[in-house]
Amino acid sequence: MNRDFHGLRSLLPGKAAWLIPALVLLLSACATHKTPDEVVLAPSLTGLVQIETLTESNDNGLLRVKITGRNMIDRVLTMDYQFDWLDKDGQMVDSVLSRKTRFTADRLRYFTIDGIAPSADVVSYRLYIDERAR
């Protein structure tokens, strides 16, 4: 390993060689907890909430989404989540299942969000998670 680094250093000028492992480490750390594209976290929750898993199923003709997240800080977080259910044309399917819902995540604990599509026309979704003002 050391030999490899020495080899790399010999190829790159000066301090630039040390930037590569640092960059690799930084990028791998970011890749581990990338928020899925379907989930839109409010900027104020960046670093406070981490989305751990997202599973989709379609057992009974209706798209079902389960998300596990984690409150990363030592403070209870009060949040809202809201699903936008979208049909094949990207149009929103309005329903009582698209209403904003309040929930809390205990300090340093995991939380789950469970959503079911209002109709069989739904093919995709967006989930918004926002911090609620106290």
Binding site: D59, N60, G61, L62, R64, S95, V96, L97, R99, K100, T101, D114, G115, I116, P118, S119, A120, A133
Partner: protein, 211 residues
Amino acid sequence: MTFQINAISMKTRALGLLMLLTLVLAGCAQRTVIVDREADDADPTLALEYRDFEFAAMDAVNSLLSSGAVDHPENKRYVMAVSRVTNDTMQRIDTDQLIRQVRIALLQSGKVITTSAISADGVQDELLDEVRRLRGSEEFRADTQVETGTLISPDFGLTGKIMQRNIDRDRRTQQVEYYFQLVLTDLRNGLAVWENETPIIKRGSNRSVAW
């Protein structure tokens, strides 16, 4: 003469004061606005409001559709009748505010259709009886009259209750607990195939009135 001028001056002043007072009061009056339901951040009230009904309906529909209780093995729709939903709160509310949203969402899901032919109080839509009374009437074309044996019996019955409990926490604070309870019964065998309770707990000033 001087007395007359003084009297007119006093009247003018009083009128001016009155106009000023009217303007001030009009300025203080609360404006009426139309609430955007998607972005309503107003503080909750101790009494039940539209957001509570929406939340309870959303929770119930989410639970019912996720439970699989209304998944037909042949991918058909089940027929549901709405039974009595009791308002056991101190407020004068129409329980239809909850049930209507549940009905709409279930119809939209494609899994359940609600019948208007029967309810706990008899026929829900009186026209169903009326059009059947017209059988044999010479005033209506025979081929447009409703035949016998056309109504469909329900598979499920939806019943429920909305409860309220008031608790004094201390001299200044009260807690109002609401419970939205719904039960879906298989009408062929009487078994409750799905049940759900959505509690909504509110806490506020003792000076507020929750009815």
